[in-house]
């Protein structure tokens, strides 16, 4: 048998066996599906969602607000951030969150924390959708607030109270990153959004009480 044929067959066996082995012995298939194919890569499309801070009452998929949000809403406004494992935009936003909220956390953490922001109470919830089950309420909550509906990352949601045709109801605003470029300006921008949600909360919570 010619040497080249032996080389071809050997390499084919090595590559295909390693490929099949990788496919069946690891979660690479799900990783690629969830982290690359199903997530919109805003870097690939060179676009960013044109979302202004606009508080809405109807959720993106018409489902009710998740229970973990409603439970925390009694404490103060809720700030939720959604991210995926590989996301430079999310890393940038988290730098601002760490600065402004004066907390520390990692990109893979999934947690909630009640914190004080300028002497007001808020709940901060950090969700990495790659680190949780697709069946979990945390994961599904993403589609409730994804107003654009394309799973862009990072996604930041402010949930507070608002006045809706005679009723005080939970209102939310979804943002996909910050507008400003400079880190200090971004911190100020983030502070403004949080302050606005607190103002709305205090004004309407007063009516509920």
């Amino acid at each position: 048998m010619k040497k080249i044929l032996v080389l071809q067959i050997s390499l084919l066996i090595i590559f295909s066996a390693a490929g099949v082995g990788l496919l069946f012995s690891t979660d690479i298939y799900n990783d690629v599906q969830r982290k690359i194919v199903e997530e919109l890569c805003l870097s690939c499309v060179k676009l960013k969602p044109d979302t202004k801070v606009e508080y809405l009452f109807d959720t993106a998929n018409d489902e009710s607000h998740p229970t973990f949000v409603l439970e925390n809403l009694s404490y103060g406004p809720v700030l939720i951030t959604y991210r995926i494992d590989f996301c430079p935009g999310c890393d940038d936003l988290e730098e601002n969150l760490i600065d402004v909220l004066n907390i520390s956390f990692g990109p893979y953490d999934v947690f909630y924390k009640r914190i004080s922001f300028e002497d007001e109470n808020i709940t901060f919830i950090h969700i990495n959708t790659n680190q949780i089950s697709e069946e979990s309420e945390l994961y599904k909550s993403r589609m409730i607030y994804d107003t654009v509906g394309t799973r862009g990352n990072p996604m930041m949601v402010f949930v507070t109270y608002g006045y809706n045709h005679g009723f005080i109801e939970p209102a939310y605003a979804t943002l996909y990153g910050l507008e400003e470029k400079d880190i200090d300006d971004r911190n100020e921008e983030l502070k403004e959004y949080i302050s606005e949600s607190i103002s709305l909360y205090n004004y309407h919570k007063h009516v509920i009480d």
């Binding site: 010619k2 080249i4 298939y29 690359i36 194919v37 890569c41 870097s43 690939c44």
Partner: protein
């Protein structure tokens, strides 16, 4: 059925398969060719995106290097490369299909205007072909480690298949990011290139082609030229979309196994071979 018709059917078939995501069919595979996973209709991942992600966190978060994300596209491309070399570029890649269409214009210009004929025959042309390896190493791997996703930020195929499609499907929802304008200029240059030089993207810039090219040297399926019967009429080289000197190619890494040389050779000296 004529070989080139078969190839056209194959290209349209793979174009259809590539875009099954339009019917919500999303898989966890990587394409063995160049196509953007940000296209709303994409079924699978761009192999370059997977490679970028695998090394992205290395610098920022040491220890986060993902070996399986690096190996996965390389093993898919490697298996196909050993079987067929760069045949996927000629028979399956949707960007290859696009260039097949624009190649007619390039061929016309080459025939009518001497300047365009010189472009593909200039002495630096063979060195330009190494650009794709530089792009692969520099923009896909090195910048991903130290800077970020530079390649996907400026990729013209992302603009073509992802950006335009998303802007058309969801007008008013998105605004251009900082990289959009740079990428758009590169996209215009990409268009000019593929209209001026046949398969210009594949020849000089395609990083997936750079991964597949070395496999031509050992692929089971390859092209052979029976030199004893060759009359050196050079018709094969004239029709080659990759600008290869076909009679002397000897498993050329640039060959995309399109078979144009096979169909045009009047003496039938160029053929497909499965083994050496």
């Amino acid at each position: 059925m004529k070989l080139q018709i078969k190839r056209l059917i194959s290209q349209f078939f793979f174009f259809f398969i590539t875009n099954l995501g339009a019917f919500r069919f999303k898989t966890g595979f990587c394409y063995p060719f160049f196509y953007c996973n940000a296209c709303p209709a994409a079924t699978s991942a761009c192999p370059l995106r997977s490679l970028e992600l695998s090394v992205f966190d290395m610098f920022k978060k040491p220890g986060n290097f993902s070996l399986k994300l690096l190996l996965y596209p390389l093993l898919i491309l490697g298996t196909i490369g050993i079987l067929t070399g760069r045949a996927v570029c000629g028979w399956a890649c949707p960007i290859g299909l696009l260039q097949r269409a624009t190649g007619r214009v390039a061929r016309y210009l080459k025939a009518k205007i001497p300047f365009f004929k010189k472009i593909g025959q200039h002495r630096i042309e063979k060195y330009l072909r190494y650009t794709k390896y530089v792009i692969l190493i520099l923009l896909v791997f090195i910048t991903s480690i130290f800077i970020g996703f530079v390649f996907t930020d400026i990729c013209p195929v992302g603009i073509l298949t992802g950006t335009f499609a998303i802007l058309a499907l969801q007008p008013g929802v998105y605004v251009p990011s900082f990289y959009f304008y740079i990428a758009f200029v590169i996209f215009i240059l990409f268009l000019i290139l593929i209209f001026l030089v046949e398969r210009g993207w594949c020849r000089y810039f395609c990083p997936v082609g750079a991964i597949l090219a070395p496999f031509n040297k050992i692929s089971i399926l390859h092209m052979v030229v029976d030199k004893s019967k060759c009359k050196h009429c050079n018709i094969c080289s004239d029709v080659c979309p990759m600008g290869i000197d076909v009679p002397n190619m000897n498993r050329d890494p640039e060959c995309i196994l399109c078979g144009k040389c096979v169909t045009t050779c009047p003496y039938n000296v160029v053929t497909y071979k499965r083994v050496k």
